[in-house]
């Protein structure tokens, strides 16, 4: 851990906030991607069996 001096709060909060935002964006994107994939597979299977 580097010595951040008197600005430790600012630097740490900047990094924490940014990482949280980026991770949240990635998680949301991945979750939605997976859900769309399964939803699409379900309906395509259903359409095939229906004829």
């Amino acid at each position: 851990m580097p010595d951040l001096g008197k600005y430790a709060d600012a630097v740490l909060s900047a990094y924490a906030l940014s990482v949280v935002l980026i991770v949240a964006l990635i998680v949301v994107s991945v979750l939605r991607s997976n859900r769309m994939r399964t939803d699409l597979q379900t309906i395509e299977k259903k359409l095939k069996t229906d004829g």
Partner: protein
């Protein structure tokens, strides 16, 4: 590569097939570069003699600000491609990029405010650059809200493309207006965010790595989200068709 082969990727199926192979590599590379850039920036850079350790925020602030603008630029280009050549992937890529751009703008704003607090003694100053980013943030919100509000996909693509075009012109105008306006209020830009004219290599190198990381992250996210949008679009069409057949 000639242009005709490039347009092939505008075919949704081809796009999904290609990105199936490319996406893992881009994502891995993005994680690696971004991780390296941020770890380097956070742990292994010296403090600035004037700004102290806050200089480390630069490795987040500058790349995210860069991507905030480039994301809008990419949306502008893909919107134009949609208007001129009507490739669906293009319109959906613009839709996929908008939330990423929004988050990038938010990061740039937040890190800017956190940086400004110790440096300028205030969380927020109506500095031209900060103000421009706030306006850009509003543009992203409006663009995303318009996509969400319209049911018909083609209509939404057309309307958002035109909004993106008109918005770009007005964003440029705002940038100019804001510059003018703040100089009118304060003499000179005493609170400029611009770092020193010549940065030492020790700061520059990790900054470049971090920038590359943000670019790769953006590319990976947009590819993945475009795939999602293509599937979502197909899903809606299939559901609508099913409903029509049973009607």
């Amino acid at each position: 590569m000639n242009l005709n082969t490039l347009w092939e990727y505008a075919n949704p199926k081809k796009f999904i097939q290609t990105t199936d192979r490319v996406l893992p590599w881009v994502a891995g590379l993005a994680a690696l570069t971004l991780g390296a850039g941020l770890v380097w920036g956070f742990f292994f850079t010296p403090d600035d003699y004037r700004q102290g350790s806050t200089v480390k925020i630069i490795y987040l602030h500058v790349p995210s600000a860069l991507m905030a603008i480039n994301a809008w630029l990419m949306m502008l280009i893909t919107s134009l491609v949609w208007i001129v050549r009507r490739h669906h992937v293009s319109a959906l890529a613009a839709r996929a990029a908008a939330p990423v751009g929004l988050v990038m703008t938010l990061i740039a704003l937040l890190t800017g405010a956190i940086w400004g607090q110790p440096m300028w003694g205030t969380w927020w100053a109506w500095d031209p650059r900060l103000t421009s980013f706030l306006i850009l943030f509003l543009f992203y919100l409006g663009y995303i809200a318009l996509w969400a509000a319209i049911e018909n996909d083609d209509t939404a693509a057309d309307l958002t493309s035109i909004l993106c075009l008109v918005g770009s012109v007005f964003a440029l105008l705002s940038r100019y207006a804001v510059n003018f306006w703040n100089q009118g209020l304060h003499q000179g830009a005493s609170l400029s965010v611009a770092p020193g004219e010549r940065m030492a290599m020790t700061f520059k190198l990790p900054l470049y790595v971090s920038m590359a990381g943000f670019v790769l992250l953006f590319v990976a996210l947009v590819l993945m989200r475009t795939r999602t949008e293509i599937r979502a679009r197909r899903l809606r069409v299939l559901i609508a068709r099913q409903r029509m057949e049973h009607a």
